[in-house]
Each structure stands twice: as C-alpha cells, then as structure tokens.
C-alpha cells in the first residue's frame, strides 16, 4: 500500500474515532435543546386547532390596506 494511501486511512480512522467520541458538552447542549423543543412540540400538539385542514382551507381574507 503506498504511503500516501496509508496516511489517508490513518486519518480516516482518526476521524472515525473522533466521531464515536463526541464532545460531552456538545452532546449535553444538544440534548437540552432537544428536550426544550420537545416540550414546546408537546404543547403545540395540544393546542393546534382541531380540524386544521378545514380551518386552513376556510381561512380566507379580503385584501386590506
């Protein structure tokens, strides 16, 4: 195997190793954001108008201004 290729593979392995060991802080931040969003998505599920299909269809305004 040419040296260049070996080097490539080595770099690739290093990258892979990095990928399986992500920064713990970033993971925690990511999880916090996801939890935070999950909570508001739960709320949206609760309060989104029922019959949204019909409602959106029927929401017709006259132009104003």
């Amino acid at each position: 195997m040419p040296a260049e290729k070996q080097q490539d593979q080595k770099e690739k392995r290093t990258q892979e190793t990095e990928e399986v060991q992500p920064d713990q802080e970033v993971v925690e931040q990511g999880e916090e954001i996801k939890e935070d969003l999950d909570q508001i998505l739960d709320e949206i599920d609760e309060i989104l108008e029922e019959d949204s299909e019909e409602f959106v269809e029927n929401y017709i305004q006259r132009g104003g201004e």
Binding site: D36, L37, Q39, I40, L41, E43, I44, I47, L48, E49, S52, E53, F55, V56, E57, N58, Y59, I60, Q61, R62, G63, G64, E65
Partner: protein, 495 residues
C-alpha cells in the same frame, strides 16, 4: 436638515369566526371595534377633513374616490383611543394605529398594547356569539391564498428631502432588511416562484418599485403624500413593505434601524450608490434565501449579500449619527450590529429574537416529529397559529410565556400603554383631552381636535407639529382648565 424622530405603526389584523356558517369579516371587524368603546369615550368621530390619501409625493393628485363614511357609520367604525392611537374598521379588517412615538422602544410598547386591545375586544365580542362560535384574530399579513393585509410604518421627514433621494436611498435598505424584519411564511403567493419557507410574509406581493397604491401592484416605495402635519415642513413616509411582527425584538429593530436610515437620507449622506439592478426581483430573492448569503446585483454591477448591504448602512450610521443622541438610538445601533453578525455566522442562532427564525425552528422540529412536509395542513396551521393573539392558543404567546423568546418590555408596561399616551408627542394632548373631556370632544384626527363646548359652535384645534402638545408643553393647561378654557387658551395663543 433633519426633523425630530416621530413614528408610528398601523396593523391590520386577520379575523375569522370559527364554526360560523357564512363568516362576514366586515361584521366581525365592526363588532370587535365597537365593543371596545366601553371607557366613557363614546361617539367621537374621525375628522376626515384632514385626510388626503390621493395626494402623490411625486407632485400630483391621483384619480380615484376616497371613501368617507356618513356620521353614523363614522362613529360605528372609528374609535380614538385614550392612548392617543386609533382603532377602526379598515375594509374587512380591524386596524390599530399606535400613537405617535419618538423612539423605537416606546413604539414596541404601543404596538404590543394594540395586540392587548384586540384581545380585550375579542373577549368582549365573544360574549355576543353563539357558544360554539369563536372569533380568532391573527397578527399576520396573508391568508396563504393570495390576499394580503398590511403592516404599515410611518416616519416623519423633512419636506426638504427630494422624494427621489428617498427612493434611491431607501429601496436597497428595505429589500435587504427582510432577514431582520420578516415574520416567515410557508409557501409562495401571487405567482411568485415556489418555495417551502420564506423570510417575509409580504415580499411576494410587491410588483413595482414606486407607486401610490397599497392594494394592487404594490410598490416597494409608497408615494402617499398625506403628512397629517404642516405640509410645508413635513412629509410622512408611509412604508408598506414590512411584515407584522409578533417578536418585540423584531419590531424594535425594524422601526429603530429604519428611522436611523431615514435620518441618514435626510442628512444627504446616502446617495444612489446602493441602487439594486432589479429591486422587485431582489425582494423575492432575499425573502427566499434562508442562508442570507445569496448575492444581489447592484445597478453598477457590484454583487453584495443582503447582510453586506446592511453593513454599509450601519457603517454610515456609525459615521453620521452621534452615539450620544439617545440611549435608544445607541442601543438600536449595537443591536443591529449584533444581529448582522449572527445572520452572517448562522441565522438560526437568532431563534429567540427574530420572528422568521423562531417560527422556522418550530416548523423544522414539528416536521421531524410527525414526518410531515411543508404542504401539510398541520404545518400551515402552525404557521398561522404562531400569529394568533389569544394568550392560551397563540404559539408566539406560549413561547413568550415559557421564556423561550427575548422580551424587551415588562407585561405591565404594555398594559399601562393601553390607556396612557406617550408624554413626548402630540398624542399626549390628544389622549389626555379624550380622557378629561370625553363629552366636549366632537371629533379628532391625527392633527386636529374638534371641541363642542357650547351648543352654538364647534372649535377646531389644529396640531400641525407632531412634537408639540407634549406633557411638558400642555400638562399644566390640561390639569387646570375646563374644556372651554382650554379651547380659548389654545386658539388665542395660535393667534
């Protein structure tokens, strides 16, 4: 030559009656506006004599008819508010106009007070409807079917500024401010190119560069020349190209930076160097560019991103607006820079600040959770419901309550602004007269108050200088006088 900053906004709200068989938006709008007249300020009409909506800033009067209601309808569809603002039925929408303000922070407060006024009206009107029906009011600009209703901004300017300077200097700014001012929208309208999500609610409706109309073939620069003030000294620039904003932060920056740029134009330091080769196309390009990185072609061939254009204006502001001019102006400039930096790095990092980003974050997450596409009705509903003014149902309102979006004002400050005018413009005189002399005022407008202090005559007080009539100038008079004495004192001093 610059004039004092005076500005205000007009918001037309979307209105719908859920479960009504044949909902009539005019009747619903009239109901909510009328029912609000419960504070003893009744029967005061709007003084249409002061209006001239067909006067064009390019120096001619446009043909057409102005729609002036008779006395009964005038009173039915108009309310002059204790805070100096106006609340009325415009076509098929309830519309709230803030009182005149001198700074961006006050204007946010008075615009948000309008949302509360609409909600109070909605609750009161609800009592008169069958229990299965519900009035729903949206602070947005489109029904997603090609019908748009406006969010207009008004800025007092010196009459000395040639109108062409405004067209040249302001158009590129208005086109490129969208990443700051947009409220976000699913889909395209009015024949514009398809897109899943775009930054502005309004961009698709703009078809010309300059013109008088606000309802068809809308222009980026509106030429209505109706200063509501001394026309020899002032013009009122009527900016019709913006979105309605839910976010306090978006409103604050929108009006704050626009007022600054207009001052630069008044000072003569913005020329035609930023003119875009095709502003009508560019407004749609910018609205569809969620990365804020797509270059626009300037008339001289240079290619700049919208953020680069905004930075040029900011640099001029740093150079020509004194930093000690006011706390609000200096804060607006800092905030403007902060937002441009963030938009450059990662627009999504503004998901607590700007409406279109806040909404996009919600939509993206909701799409993933339920494996939906942008054209699904749940996503369209989510988009619309972001603008619902009901505190328990509106998605923006829920985010605000849960501390997920930036807040500039305390809720109590906004509540206070419902019934108290700003102290530093003629809105103070208007609002306080209405509160103190509700039975002696016959009608009012932006620049007039008509008193009826005896049976024989009406007396009109003209208020042609928007920065007069302040608490400092009229507070003592208003406290100590009867209505008749006030009229006497003001009319005599005018002689």
């Amino acid at each position: 030559m610059t004039v004092p900053t005076i500005m205000g906004t007009e918001t037309e709200y979307g209105i719908s009656v859920k479960n009504a068989r044949d909902p009539d938006p005019v009747a619903a709008s009239t109901l909510v506006v009328n029912i609000y007249k419960d504070r003893g300020i009744k029967g005061i009409t709007w003084d249409y004599d002061q209006e001239s909506p067909l006067m064009d800033a390019r120096g001619f009067v446009s043909e057409g008819e102005t729609d002036i209601p008779d006395q009964e309808n005038n009173s039915l569809i108009n309310d002059v508010l204790a805070n100096g603002g106006r609340y009325y039925v415009d076509h098929a929408h309830p519309e709230y106009c803030t009182p005149e303000c001198t700074n961006a922070r006050d204007l946010v407060k008075y615009e948000k007070a309008g949302d509360l006024i609409l909600d109070l009206s909605r609750l009161a009107a609800q009592e008169l409807l069958p229990t299965n029906q519900e009035i729903i009011i949206y602070k947005n600009n489109s029904d997603y079917k090609g019908h748009s209703y406006g969010a207009h901004e008004n800025y007092l300017m010196s009459r000395n500024v040639p109108f062409q300077d405004i067209v040249d200097g302001l158009t590129p700014f208005l086109v490129t401010r969208q990443p700051i001012t947009g409220s976000g929208k699913i889909g395209a309208e009015n024949g514009a190119s398809e897109t899943d999500y775009q930054i502005s609610q309004r961009a698709d409706f703009f078809e010309t560069e300059v013109g008088l109309s606000t309802m068809v073939a809308r222009p980026i620069i509106n030429t209505r020349d109706e200063p509501h003030a001394d026309e020899a000294l002032y013009r009122r620039l009527h900016v019709i190209v913006g979105d309605s904003n839910m976010s306090e932060f978006s409103i604050y920056l929108k009006v704050g930076i626009t007022a600054i740029v207009l001052q630069l134009i008044e000072q003569g330091v913005v020329g035609d160097e930023f003119r875009l080769s095709d502003p009508v196309l560019a407004i749609k390009t910018v609205s569809r560019d969620l990365s804020c990185k797509e270059s626009l072609v300037l008339e001289d061939g240079r290619k700049w991103t919208p953020i680069e254009v905004q930075r040029e204006y900011l640099e001029l502001a740093h150079k020509h607006i004194p930093t000690d001019v006011s706390d609000v102006v200096s804060d607006v400039m800092k905030t403007w820079e902060f937002v441009l930096d963030r938009l450059d790095e990662d627009p999504m990092s503004l998901d607590r600040h700007l409406d279109w980003v806040i909404k996009k974050r919600l939509i993206d997450a909701y799409l993933r959770r339920h494996s939906l596409t942008h054209s699904d009705h749940q996503i369209r509903m989510l988009d619309l419901q972001y603008h619902d003014i009901r505190p328990n149902k509106g998605l923006y309102a829920r985010l605000l309550k849960n501390g997920r979006v930036e807040r500039l004002l305390k809720h109590e400050e906004i509540v206070q602004a419902i019934n108290n005018p700003p102290v530093d413009t003629r809105a103070y005189f208007r609002g306080m007269c209405l509160q103190k002399f509700p039975n002696e005022i016959h009608s009012a407008s932006w620049n007039s108050m008509i008193f009826c202090t005896d049976d024989s005559s009406l007396d009109k007080i003209l208020m042609d200088r928007p920065h007069f009539g302040t608490q400092e100038m009229t507070g003592d008079l208003l406290r100590d006088c009867t209505a008749a004495e006030l009229v006497q004192a003001v009319l005599t001093s005018n002689d």
